[in-house]
């Protein structure tokens, strides 16, 4: 077996992996390897040909491939090594990464640190259990997006979409522009879970109806989808039988959530958060294994790639800091807890002193939409450390709050983030 040696191995060459590798390189780490499963750098951005990326990070509106190119050009111009078509099979306790590709076969990389940037995958029909046969024509929206935008196949002509997440909305417009008839988007919740701008530009612009509090109750068809039964759901989110109607269609696209791909992380013993399904990390995006870092959608599912880039740069700098022994740990690690109406907060703890970091950004999702609220960060004695007014908070839009590090004391053990009651 071929044996290689690097300072950092980055697993995944999407926006997270590229930003983390570039930032670690800037911080002085010399030998960096990116392992990418696909044939090219760029990750999911490759197939996200719509625009709207980079408004925060670059202050301009880019398409997915353009956003990815800004980083892949830099990686290609650098001395960071990239192996594409490369699948990481195992990350071992003894800091060895086992991977495989057609050129090197199975190979082993000895490393000092690992950055997890594997992204996420789509929830499937099986994870939401829709009754009916198993005809062709049922697929995840992101899979359809790849067929249309990369391979040039149209997956169907009469389309129903389940789930109003951003990928579902984007695909409603994309299928329409490619000549398909999108009959409607169904959403189980009483509110749209995607960004407002996507609802307006992808559905309203094309007169595609959005059915809130609706779901698919049955898939019809033996070899190919012939239609779906849909029904309204009650407050308990169970279908109301008397509202059930049949909609003829040949394709059902599912946009019903994303799951961080953490099989490698679990195997090496990285602790995962029950809510995010990503690693439990500190403010440096360091996991319970001090040499393993995580960033991007493998850590928690983001709405905006701009946030992924910022988080991954942080992880890249932190991995460099770990190799060079830069950061001094605090006397007590501070646990960050989600309070009232907060689903989760990343990072889950604060562990280090870092003079260069004036604020620590806490990323979170609320459980329920609310308007005109105050969000608070409190210490273990109930003292308010920081307060933020928000016109609107909703589960579909990640909130980030800047906690000034000067507010943290040596004795603190816990802080809580909540929407004030």
């Amino acid at each position: 077996m071929k044996k290689l040696s690097y300072d950092i191995v980055v697993v995944g060459g999407g926006p997270a992996g590229m930003a983390a590798a570039l930032e670690a390189r800037k911080a002085g780490v010399e030998k960096i390897l990116i392992c990418e499963r696909g044939g090219k750098l760029g990750g999911i951005l490759e197939q996200c040909i719509h625009n709207g990326f980079g408004l925060q990070y670059f202050k301009e509106e880019l398409t997915g491939p353009e956003y990815a190119t800004r980083f892949s050009d830099q990686v290609e111009a650098s001395d960071i090594d990239v192996k594409v078509n490369t699948m990481v099979m195992d990350i071992q306790e003894d800091k060895k990464v086992i991977a495989v590709n057609p050129e090197d076969g199975l190979f082993e990389v000895e490393t000092k640190a690992v950055i997890l940037a594997m992204g996420c995958r789509e929830r499937t029909r099986e994870s939401i259990t829709i009754p009916g046969d198993r005809p062709s024509g049922v697929m995840c929206a992101g899979t359809a997006q790849r067929y249309v935008n990369i391979n040039g196949y149209l997956p169907g002509k009469e389309i129903v979409i389940l789930g109003s997440g951003d990928i579902g909305l984007i695909m409603a417009r994309r299928m329409t522009l490619e000549g398909a008839n999108v009959k409607g988007v169904l959403e189980l919740m009483p509110y749209s879970t995607g960004l407002v701008r996507n609802k307006v530009q992808c559905l309203d612009d094309f007169g595609i109806p959005l059915y809130l509090s609706h779901t698919v109750t049955k898939i019809h068809g033996k070899n190919r989808v012939e239609g779906v039964s849909i029904a309204e759901v009650g407050p308990d989110r169970n279908p109301i039988p008397e509202t059930e109607v049949f909609i003829p269609c040949d394709t059902l696209l599912l946009s019903v959530g994303l799951i961080p791909e953490n099989e490698l992380s679990k195997k090496v013993g990285v602790d995962l958060d029950r809510v995010t399904r990503g690693a439990v990390v500190d403010e440096k995006r360091r996991t319970n294994k001090d040499w393993i870092f995580a960033c991007g959608n493998v850590l928690h599912v983001h709405d905006l790639v701009d946030n992924v880039t910022e988080e991954s740069e942080l992880a890249g700098r932190a991995a460099a800091g770990y190799i060079f022994g830069t950061y001094a740990p605090r006397k007590n690690p501070i646990t960050v807890k989600p309070g009232n109406n907060i689903g989760y907060v990343v990072p889950q703890s604060i562990r280090y002193h870092d003079e260069s970091q004036k604020v620590i950004r806490l990323y979170m999702r609320v459980r329920n939409p609310q308007e005109n609220v105050t969000m608070e960060i409190k210490d273990d004695k109930g003292e308010v450390l920081a307060k933020f007014k928000k016109d609107i908070v909703e589960p579909g839009s990640m909130v980030n709050l800047a906690l000034p590090t000067m507010k943290l004391t040596e004795d603190m053990k816990e802080i809580t983030v909540s929407v004030a009651e």
Binding site: T63, P65, N151, L177, V200, D205, S397
Partner: protein, 122 residues
């Protein structure tokens, strides 16, 4: 007097704005916005709604079969389907560099259709 409802997309709040206008679409009043950006959005969206168009075109001899493209400026919203039909007819030869003009004065809009990524020739 008629009313048109517009949902603002300048921020996640999504204000429901009502534009009141006469039969010749002269604006009488704009209500329901909560910031100046919302008022400006409603005005543009009512008088001349525009969008950036993105799609793909076929590529010959490249390391990918499809090239993602975009209009390098906004085009009138009612032209989106025309733009989609036109982009289906285009086939180009690799290599392509990001920003290359694929079709100038796309659909007579005065705006160019440009490449949104690099494609190598194989």
């Amino acid at each position: 007097m008629a009313k048109t409802n517009i949902i603002c997309i300048r921020c996640p709040k999504g204000c429901h704005i009502t534009v009141t206008h006469d039969d010749d679409r002269n604006i009488q009043s704009i209500e329901g916005f909560s910031c100046p950006r919302g008022e400006e959005y409603a005005k543009t969206e009512f008088t001349n709604p525009v969008r950036v168009f993105t799609s793909t075109v076929r590529v010959k001899g490249g390391d990918l079969d499809l090239l993602p493209v975009k209009t390098n400026g906004s085009i009138p919203k009612p032209m989106m389907m025309d733009a989609a039909r036109e982009s289906c007819r285009i086939e180009i030869e690799a290599p392509v560099k990001i920003g290359d003009v694929i079709q100038s004065n796309f659909c007579g809009t005065g705006i160019d259709l440009v490449a949104a990524r690099n494609i190598k020739a194989i």
